[in-house]
Symmetry: C2
Subunit: 419 residues, 2 copies
């Protein structure tokens, strides 16, 4: 089994086919959750699963899986009749708007290839194996929606106030044939899960800069997000003196600059992003009455999170006060940092050693579905190098050799953990 390797040509063919679904002219993909392109990618995945002779599974959260069940013989061989646990391998097929071909897709394709390789080799594992595509990892609607649902971490209040807006969620669920009720029904018992493993591109420059093959993830940063609304008053932009205005753009702009300064100066291992502003009414000749700011910040440390959170909100209030604006603060999710399982990290490291690949341990600056399983089952994750660190853009690229290396580490780690 030590010599077993995935089939790189077969994996490449699948990867390239998938990259055509929702392809953009600049070489990326545009597959936001429940868009036509996203649903088409899921149909394509289902076809591949069935062609490969694996079992297809879909749940109420829209998660799609290929499953390789522990054979009847192996099951019967166990002394006590207890249900087999499932080792999940996965990632996601949705993308950010105009994203890249590798983010998520590589992890699903590699997991699928691992199942095909193990099935082909006729190896009996101690667990059921499942290659899963989780719904809305990118958070077009909710963020880690599918994995949270499966892990039992989704609640109806999250569905009522999703960061993409309730209307968009309802419309998306309708298109996918899902509902609030089905979402909440996707939970699986903790006892049924043997663990969750994921291969992903790094989306940063550390591996490339250090000339390394693999990153074994130590922890996934947490992500807190808010919608901050600076509220002033609509007035005629020609006849209202500058002093008489309550201009919401000023609070939003002041906060945007302050948020960056706070993180750059005092939270060097955290990041903050103002990804969007919505102006109302948004006309050339009207003083902006309201600006809604999309705020997100990340940390691998819970204590730092709390300090950064209170500093950012205090500065938002200061910026509002300075320009006589009101401030509305709406929390859209607080995902805690998640530590990866030591035993799984050791297995990844051992697999790298066996394969002659060099690696380092590093935290993940991006959120990933693994954090949904924090405290539920053992979680592990590896990265392969991203050229120039580019991600969430069509410039995203990972050398195919690195993709194959990552898939072989995933395969060998499964064998170490489950035989």
């Amino acid at each position: 089994m030590l010599k077993l390797r995935i089939n790189p040509d077969r994996m490449l063919a699948a990867f390239n086919e998938l990259a055509q679904v929702g392809a953009t002219s600049d070489g990326g993909v545009n597959r936001p959750t429940f868009s036509e392109a996203h649903l088409a990618a899921r149909r394509w995945f289902r076809e591949q699963i069935e062609k490969a002779g694996l079992e297809f599974r879909a749940d109420g959260a829209g998660n799609h899986s290929a499953t390789l069940a522990l054979s009847g013989a192996s099951r019967g061989a166990s002394a006590v009749e207890e249900p087999a646990k499932t080792l999940l391998l996965g990632s996601h097929l949705d993308s950010v708007p105009n994203g890249g071909r590798f983010d998520g897709a590589l992890g699903v394709i590699a997991a699928f290839e691992v199942l095909r390789t193990i099935k082909e080799a006729g190896i009996q594992l101690k667990v059921d194996l499942e290659a899963i595509d989780f719904t809305d990892e990118e958070g077009t609607l909710v963020g880690l929606l599918g994995s949270a649902a499966l892990a039992g971490r989704l609640h109806s209040d999250i569905l009522q106030n999703p960061r993409g807006g309730r209307g968009a969620l309802l419309e998306g669920m309708r298109r996918a044939g899902l509902s609030d009720e089905s979402m909440l029904s996707a939970m699986r018992p903790k006892e049924s899960l043997a663990g969750y493993l994921e291969l992903h591109i790094e989306q940063g420059k550390r591996l490339e800069r250090a000339g390394l093959h693999v990153g074994v993830v130590s922890a996934i940063v947490g992500i807190w997000s808010y919608r901050l609304s600076f509220i002033g008053r609509a007035d005629h932009a020609g006849t209202t003196t500058m002093g008489d205005r309550l201009d919401a753009s000023l609070g939003a702009s002041e906060f945007t600059l302050a948020a960056r300064d706070i993180v750059v100066n005092d939270f060097r291992d955290c990041v903050v992003n103002i990804g969007n502003m919505e102006f109302s009414p948004g006309a050339f000749n009207i003083v902006p009455a309201q600006v809604d700011v999309s705020l997100e910040f990340r940390s691998a440390d819970e204590e730092k999170f709390k300090r950064l959170d209170s500093l950012l909100l205090a500065h938002a209030q200061e910026a509002a006060n300075r320009f006589n604006l009101a401030l509305k603060v709406e929390s859209l999710g607080k995902h805690s940092p998640a530590l990866m399982d030591d035993h799984v990290r050791d297995a990844f490291a051992g697999a790298c050693d066996d394969l002659g690949l060099n690696y380092i341990s590093l935290p993940s600056g991006a959120g990933h579905d693994g954090q949904s399983f924090d405290g539920i089952c053992p979680v592990g994750m590896i990265f392969v190098p991203s050229r120039d660190g580019a991600s969430h853009s069509a410039r995203e690229f990972t050398a195919w050799e690195d993709c194959v290396n990552g898939a072989n580490v995933l395969l060998q780690t499964v064998l170490r953990l489950a035989t």
Copy 2:
């Protein structure tokens, strides 16, 4: 004729009927150019014109008018057979998104009432009289579109790059049954125009604060507008270090604050507005690659315009440089300040005196259709008080007595100029 007055009840009934077209729940109106509500307001105006026994006229720019022609008898009585000139009275029925009931509508309703009053009294003028509703005064698509077309100041390059976007203009013209060609055909010979008079709400607090009935406008400020695009790079907002980002939001925010400071500190009689920002791609977890800023600034002085213009653009470039962004500058129109005609101003002042109304001379901070006729024919404009200066909002309000006063000044000024 000195005793002639408009019919306030008839005018109020018409004003209130019109306010129902595109009415919003908060008491304003939403009639952006060529929206369903805007086209409905124009249909309503046409019906009123025909019911009143006045002649209806529409041109290729979509301008709608009631006309009261010099009678055949008067025409024949002139020694030399030359075509009568037209004295235009007008304003506009379009509104900003979620605007007020008075802006534009009052001027059209008052002009219409003046024509009805003069027709009813059987008074023979030396000119044709026309109450006109100009297309897109507010600039949803172009800005002063209808008056510029009539004055011969519209060019095809303006139609190719309208500030509302070419797609929106094409769609709007389609809905209204208009085209680029028809727009350009709306020009009238300069020799055919006797002048242009407009009654409008002040949209500022000067008349209210001074306790005056009427403002006789001395000049209309010019408006220059730009789309400034700050261009960075889309990157993953979790994995890209703060130092590695090219974040377009920072340039846009820095510029927004700087623009206000420049005007507040050094251009106290000018105003500047950042009415909108568009973020691309606009997701929580992507560093903004591009932010398009809608910039508009106003001055009654051409020299100040030039100085302010170069300062603002220099600061935009500085803000871009500071954050390693590119800057794209797109000029969307330079409307020069327009001086009002002295003879018309005297006639307004005389009419106020006759009516026992107190008045001051003041510049208009808002742009108006009158500036399209600068250098083409004599132009004059009066204001009536706006409560709390509110405008471009549902809070817009002018006491009915003030509206009636304004209409009577308009009537008496027409009689002074054209009998």
